[in-house]
Symmetry: C2
Subunit: 557 residues, 2 copies
C-alpha cells in the first residue's frame, strides 16, 4: 500500500534547522529560528556573499497543466535531492502556499510522495506569517486610503475609481463584490469594493521582485491605488504610507529556510498569483539560494507559456538572475488529456492519445529553445503509466534530439531523480546557453504582447478591445510604457480559450483590458476574466479537518 | 532628558529566550523559539506540572481610566521585576496588543519607561502570529457560513439573522457596515454584514478562556453564528467546522514567552476586548505562569468595575484561578481628572481636585473588599506629581487603614517597585483572603446584572429595554441562563454615562440588549453602543512609520 503524503511527511527524520543552517555555512546572526524546523534568513546574507559567484539556477517548468496533475513541485524537490546525491550542493527555492485553497480542496502544496518539503503542516497553514503580514499591509493601505477620503479627501480621490481592493488569505466568494462605508456619515464614505485572495495582492508581487528593503519601499511607493477627479493616478507615495507598509513587511521579506524529506535545504518564500502576477518565489530567495549553493532548483507557476515566460521576461530582469538550465515536466497522464482522453479514463493505456498530446510538449520545447536556455524533458512517472507509454515519450524525444529523463522522485525520492540530475548537470556544464528575454522592454506595449503571443503561444496575432487601446494611450502619457508585460491568460490552453488543449493553431489572443502594477513593475494584460478570489466547493475540505489533543493536523492533505 | 520608551527598549540587554526558558526549568521539548527573543510554550507544561501547587496570582487593576493614563501595564511589569528583586520567583502574564490601533495613534502596549516587556516592536507588530491565526479562523468560519448559504442552505439560515461578522486586526471604519455577496448568482448571496477588529472576535475570548485544545474545540463548536428561519440558533457544530477552526489555532493557543527589561519572564498571550469580552490574557498563560513561578502578576482591562469584576467573576471560574492579592493602581493625575481638572491642566498642583477625585478610588476599594481579596493601592508616580499630592493620597489611605505603596517603576524599573512588592508579599502571606465571585451563575440573568450594578458600580438599580427583556425569555428557552454576565459599559465612569467621573450616585444602569457569547461562555449585556471596529484619526501614526535598511522600526512609539 502506498502511504499518503502526510504519513510520509510525519515519519520523516527532520534535522533541527540549526543543522541545516550550519550546512549552509550561515553565520549565527544571519538566521532566526521559527520553531525547531523553520528559520528566517537575514538579507545580510546577500550582502556578505555579494561578490561570490552565483550558483546555477535551474528552472522547473511544465507542459500546459491539466486536471491530471503534472507534479512540478514534486519534480523540483526530487531534483534538488538528486543533485545533492550526485555531489552538487543544491538548494531548492519554491513559492509558499496560500491558506485559502487548503480549506476548500484537500491537498497541500509542498511536493508529494518522497519528494516533499517539510514540516508540511506548517508550510500549508500559517508558516512563518509572511502571507499574514502581506494581508495586514495590504488592508492597512485600504484603511488608510478610506480614512483619507473620509477625513476630507485632500487628494481628491474619485471614489468610483479606487483600484486598490482589499484582501484575505481565504477562498471567500461572498467578498468578491461588496459595498463598504455604509451606515451614515461617521462610518466612512460608501463605495463599491471587493476582496482578492492575498496571493493576488500587488504587495505579494512586489515582495517577490524586490532586491532589498529599500527597493521594496520604492516599489510600494509607486503602487497606484486610485485615480483622482482629474483621472490622474494616486499612489502610495501620495498617501505617504510606504514606510508603514514596509515596516509591516520587515520580517516577511526574509526568506524562509526549511528542508526536504532528505534534508536538502529549501527556501520557501513568496507566492504571487501566476496569472495577474508572475508566479515565482521571491528574487531574494532565489538569489540567496544561488549564493549559498552551487545549484538552485526553482519553479514557476502554470505551464512554460506562462511560468517560464514570466520567469525569463520578468523575474530574471528584476533580480539579475541567469537561468542555467530548464526542466520541462510532462506526464503521460497529462499528455493523454491533451490528446483528448477524459480524466476518468487516464489509468487506461492509450498511446494514440498520448501521441496526439505530444504536440503540447512540442510547443513548450520550441518556446524554451526560443529563449536559448538548455533544457531537458523530465517525465514525472505515475504508477498507472504503462511501459509502452513511457517508451513512446522517450522515443519521441530521441527522434527529435530532445534531452529527456525519467523521474521517479515521487516514489523513490532523490534516488529516483539521478538520471534527470545528471542530465541537468551535463546541460549546465556543457550545454549552449544563449539566454535572452524574448522582448525588449522599450518596445511599444502592443509589440511586446504580440511577441509573446506569436513566439510563446503560437498565436497568429492579437486583438485589443477599445478599452485596452484607450489604456495604452493613457499609459504612454503616464510613462508606463517601458515595463515588461504580465500576461493573464488561461493556463489550460496555449490559446486564450481553456477548452483548446494540445497545440491549437491559427488563433488570436484578445486583450480585454490592462491592469497597471506599477509597484511590481509590470503591466498585466487580461485576456479574459481572471478569478482573483476563489470560492469554496459544496463539501469543503474544512469539514474533515481536525487537530488532535497533542497538536497533530488531521485532514489537511 | 528622559529617554523614549523605544530608546530604552532598544538599549536593553536581552537574554536569549533559551536562557529565560532554562531559568523556568522548562524541558527542551516544551518550548519553541520564534526568533531569538520569543518562544511559544507547549501546553504539555500544564500537564507535567498539574499536581504542583500553584503560585500566587496577583491581579493589577486600577481606578476608572481617564485620558491622563494610569499605567497599569507599567506597574504590572515593574511589580514583577520588583518581586524578583526581593527574591520571589515571579512571572508576568499580560495581554498581547492589537496591531490596528498602533497604525492610528502612536504608542505601544507593552509597559513604559524602565518597566517594559521586550522586544517591543515585535510584540506590537505581528508578534508570534496569534492574532493573525484568530483572524484566519474567524474569517474562515465566515467564508464557510456564506458558502453553506450559497450551496443550498441546508440549515435554513436566515440571511437577515447572521450574527457572525467578519474581522480584521485593523482600525478600519469603512468596514463597519458592508454588504457582501453582490455581483449576481455565482458570487454568493447578498446580505448585510460588517467587520469587527480581531480582538473583538468571540474566538479571541474563547482562546483566552480555554484550558486546553479539547476545551477550545468544545467552545468553538458552541458558538452561535446565525439563526434559522424558525429563529433557532445555528452553531459551529451545525456547520461541522470546529475541527478546522481548532486546526488553524493549534499554535495560537500556546502562550508566548518574552522578558522584561530586567529579564523577568513574561507570558503574553491573548487580548480580548474589555467591553464585549472579559479583557484578560489567556487562562492558559496565567495557569502556566502560576505553575512555573511562585508569583504571577497579571492585569485586566479598564478599571476595577470592569476588569477586576470580570477577572473575578468570569476568568477565575473558567480557569480555576485563585486570586491571592490585588493592586489598585491610581495616579494623582487621573484622580485630579476625576475631581474635575481638565487634561491640559494636570501638571498643575491641585490638592482640592485630588481630594474630590479620591471618591473614585474609594469605590473601587470597596469593590475589591466585597470580593474578599486582600489589596494594596499602588500610586504610579509621574514626574509632574507634587510632593503634596502624593502625601495627600498616602495620608488618605492611612486614615482609612488602606494599604498603600508608592510605585516608581516607570523611572526606576524594579527598584522603584520594591515597597509595593513587599506589601504584596505581606498581603499574600498574611492577609485575609475570603475571595468569592460576587454572584452565583445559577441566578436569573436579571439578578446577576443587578448584583454587579449595585455592588460594583454603586448603582441604585437597573432597567432593561423591551428588546433585552424579550431576549431574556429567549435565552431561558435556549438554556443560556446559567452563564456569567459580561458587562459592556463605558470604562470612563462607574455609571453608564461616560461624562460622570468620580463616584456618581443614584444612577440606573440601562441594558439596551444582550449578545450571547455561548462559546466563550458568557452573556454580554450592552449598556450603550459599543465600538467594535475603531477608526483612524485624521493624521494616523502610520504616516510617521518607517523601517531602516537594517530592519529597525521607526515611528512605532
Amino acid at each position: 500500500m502506498n502511504k499518503s503524503d502526510i504519513e510520509i511527511a510525519q515519519e520523516a527524520k527532520m534535522k533541527p534547522i540549526s543543522e541545516i543552517a550550519e550546512q549552509l555555512d550561515l553565520h549565527v546572526d544571519e538566521w532566526e529560528p521559527h520553531g525547531h524546523y523553520k528559520a528566517k534568513l537575514s538579507l545580510d546574507v546577500l550582502k556578505r556573499l555579494d561578490s561570490k559567484p552565483s550558483g546555477k539556477v535551474v528552472l522547473v517548468t511544465a507542459i500546459s497543466p491539466t486536471p491530471a496533475g503534472e507534479g512540478k513541485s514534486t519534480v523540483s524537490v526530487g531534483l534538488g535531492q538528486a543533485l545533492n546525491r550526485i555531489g552538487k550542493k543544491t538548494i531548492i527555492a519554491l513559492r509558499e502556499p496560500s491558506l485559502g485553497p487548503s480549506m476548500g480542496i484537500k491537498g497541500g502544496a509542498a511536493g508529494g510522495g518522497y519528494s516533499q518539503v517539510i514540516p508540511m503542516e506548517d508550510i500549508n497553514l500559517h508558516f512563518t506569517g509572511d502571507l499574514h503580514a502581506i494581508t495586514s499591509a495590504h488592508n492597512a493601505l485600504s484603511a488608510l486610503l478610506d480614512n483619507h477620503i473620509h477625513q476630507g479627501n485632500e487628494l481628491q480621490i474619485d471614489t468610483r475609481r479606487v483600484v486598490w481592493k482589499r484582501v484575505l488569505d481565504l477562498n471567500d466568494r461572498a467578498l468578491r463584490n461588496v459595498v463598504v462605508g455604509l451606515g451614515g456619515p461617521v462610518q466612512g464614505v460608501p463605495r463599491e469594493d471587493g476582496f482578492d485572495i492575498t496571493v493576488a495582492s500587488e504587495i505579494m508581487a512586489i515582495l517577490c521582485l524586490s532586491k532589498d528593503i529599500n527597493d521594496l519601499k520604492h516599489r510600494l511607493s509607486k503602487m497606484v491605488v486610485a485615480y483622482n477627479y482629474s483621472k490622474e493616478p494616486v499612489t502610495v507615495a501620495d498617501l505617504g504610507v510606504q514606510g508603514a507598509l514596509a515596516l509591516l513587511l520587515k520580517d516577511a521579506i526574509k526568506p524562509n529556510l526549511v528542508q526536504t524529506l532528505e534534508n536538502t535545504p529549501a527556501l520557501i518564500h513568496g507566492g504571487p498569483f501566476a496569472n495577474i502576477a508572475h508566479g515565482c518565489n521571491s528574487v531574494m530567495a532565489t538569489r540567496m539560494a544561488s549564493k549559498l549553493g552551487d545549484y538552485v532548483v526553482t519553479e514557476a507557476g502554470f505551464g512554460a507559456d506562462l511560468g517560464a515566460e514570466k520567469f525569463f521576461d520578468i523575474k530574471t530582469r528584476a533580480g539579475d538572475i541567469e537561468p542555467a538550465a530548464t526542466v520541462i515536466v510532462a506526464t503521460a497522464r497529462a499528455l493523454k488529456m491533451h490528446g483528448g482522453v477524459a480524466k476518468n479514463q487516464l489509468t487506461e493505456e492509450n498511446v494514440g492519445a498520448l501521441e496526439r498530446g505530444m504536440a503540447n510538449l512540442e510547443k513548450h520545447v520550441e518556446t524554451i529553445r526560443t529563449f536559448g536556455v538548455p533544457f531537458v524533458v523530465g517525465i514525472n512517472r505515475f504508477n498507472s503509466d504503462s511501459e509502452q507509454e513511457i517508451q513512446f515519450i522517450l522515443d519521441w524525444c530521441a527522434e527529435r534530439n530532445i534531452e529527456v529523463a525519467l523521474s521517479e522522485v515521487w516514489a523513490k525520492g532523490g534516488a529516483g531523480g539521478e538520471e534527470l540530475a545528471n542530465k541537468v548537470v551535463e546541460l549546465v556544464e556543457n550545454g549552449t546557453n544563449t539566454f535572452e528575454p524574448i522582448y525588449d522592454v522599450s518596445l511599444p506595449i502592443i509589440e511586446k504582447i504580440e511577441t509573446i503571443a506569436r513566439k510563446v503561444y503560437g498565436a497568429s496575432g492579437i486583438e485589443l478591445s477599445p478599452k485596452a487601446k484607450r489604456q495604452i494611450s493613457e499609459f504612454d502619457k503616464a510613462g508606463w510604457n517601458n515595463l515588461p508585460i504580465c500576461m493573464a491568460k488561461t493556463q489550460y490552453s496555449l490559446s486564450d480559450d481553456p477548452s483548446k488543449l494540445g497545440r491549437p493553431e491559427g488563433f488570436i489572443i484578445s486583450i480585454r483590458e490592462f491592469r497597471p502594477s506599477i509597484g511590481a513593475g509590470f503591466i498585466v494584460a487580461l485576456t479574459g476574466t481572471v478569478m482573483t478570489m476563489p470560492g469554496l466547493p459544496k463539501k469543503p475540505a474544512a469539514l474533515n479537518m481536525d487537530v488532535t489533543e497533542d497538536g497533530k493536523a488531521i485532514g489537511l492533505f
